[in-house]
């Protein structure tokens, strides 16, 4: 069903309502990113989020019935943005590892998202956390993706011989997570004194790859 039969006025009014609803939702999610990043999921209340978003508590409940629903929407939103960026990068012919380095470069421009992810991932290791299953799936998927890429590199003779693929994939993810923590801890320092997340990931790739990705012959 389309709405092409509606009068222009009704369509415009409805679009205005949708746009207003979307804008409110955006405001709520932006406020939640900052608060969850600072105080964690457990340390933030729905009232805190409503206050920071400048809406009433019942107004917030209209959009998100529970705090877990806010977190779920945030994580889904982050994943959608990340996957779109990664996909666009790969469509330009970038290999997975270089695309992950680019992801770290983008993360260095959005501390609030990195803070959210680091705080909530640490909390969500508890089995009863609402995002526990999400992080289990996310890590399993990411590690499987990297193991596949490592297997292809090994078969192409581009991997240091003898590496265990799962251990290598987990190390790569650990460097990304661990460097995000060190980078956040240094966020009050001048830019030149902060650790470089992308360069550190690149240094690990240099250790495990025999031929750097950008020098590999085109297939």
């Amino acid at each position: 069903m389309t709405t092409t039969g509606a009068t222009p006025q009704a369509g415009a009014a409805r679009a205005g309502g949708y746009a207003r609803g979307r804008r409110k939702r955006e405001q709520i999610l932006q406020a939640a990113i900052t608060l969850f990043g600072e105080a964690g999921f457990h340390g933030t209340s729905l009232r805190d989020i409503a206050g920071a978003a400048g809406i009433s508590h019942p107004g917030l409940l209209h959009h998100f019935p529970t705090k877990a629903a806010v977190l779920e929407a945030l994580l889904e939103h982050r994943d959608a943005v990340d996957e779109a960026d990664l996909e666009a990068d790969r469509e330009r012919g970038t290999d997975l590892f270089t695309a992950l380095v680019h992801l770290m470069e983008r993360n260095a421009l959005r501390p609030a998202i990195v803070d959210l992810y680091t705080s909530v991932a640490a909390e969500a290791t508890s089995a009863d956390h609402p995002a526990h299953a999400y992080f289990e799936r996310r890590y399993a998927r990411t590690i499987a993706l990297i193991v596949d890429e490592l297997a292809a590199r090994r078969d192409a003779g581009e991997l240091v011989p003898g590496l265990d693929l799962e251990t290598t994939a987990r190390s790569l993810v650990a460097i990304m997570d661990g460097m995000q923590l060190q980078w956040l801890l240094a966020r009050d320092l001048p830019r030149a004194q902060r650790p470089d997340m992308a360069a550190t990931l690149g240094a690990y790739l240099d250790l495990i790859l025999v031929t750097p990705p950008q020098d590999a012959p085109a297939p």
Copy 2:
């Protein structure tokens, strides 16, 4: 001043009081380790800690006037235990890197401590967190210690040529932190399916060292 002039009875009574006080303090810290690990510092109240330790709220305040004081005592306690273990290991002639692998092996036996450290470190990236300065100092000290060891290895011809020492030290710490997160996330899985934190750190050391530490000639 010593207490050798006191009567044996008074001395025994005082020792009993001290022992009781120490025991209570231990109970409080044990309860706090579990709660901070599960819900983070912000997600835990002093009342939660008193309840889990089986003492009254005023009883808890007698030992620790604020929640930040509980956290500070916990982190100091963990550091004292870790440093004593590491020191004992090094006195047996173990090099720093192997001692860090042993630390990861010990951590695999104490999930509550690993959970506490991971959750609080993630929260403490915020400049206004009571443990922020503690973590800044801790990371600076650890990275400086590892950089010194890397420099000595480089001078002995035991390091892969061309590595940036600070980047390598930060990567090593990132692998320890990141693997703790992945290990915690998998803590409900059977032991064989959990990632091996110590082996993953060992795999990184194999990548950066030309001669494994245990094969190095005695000085």
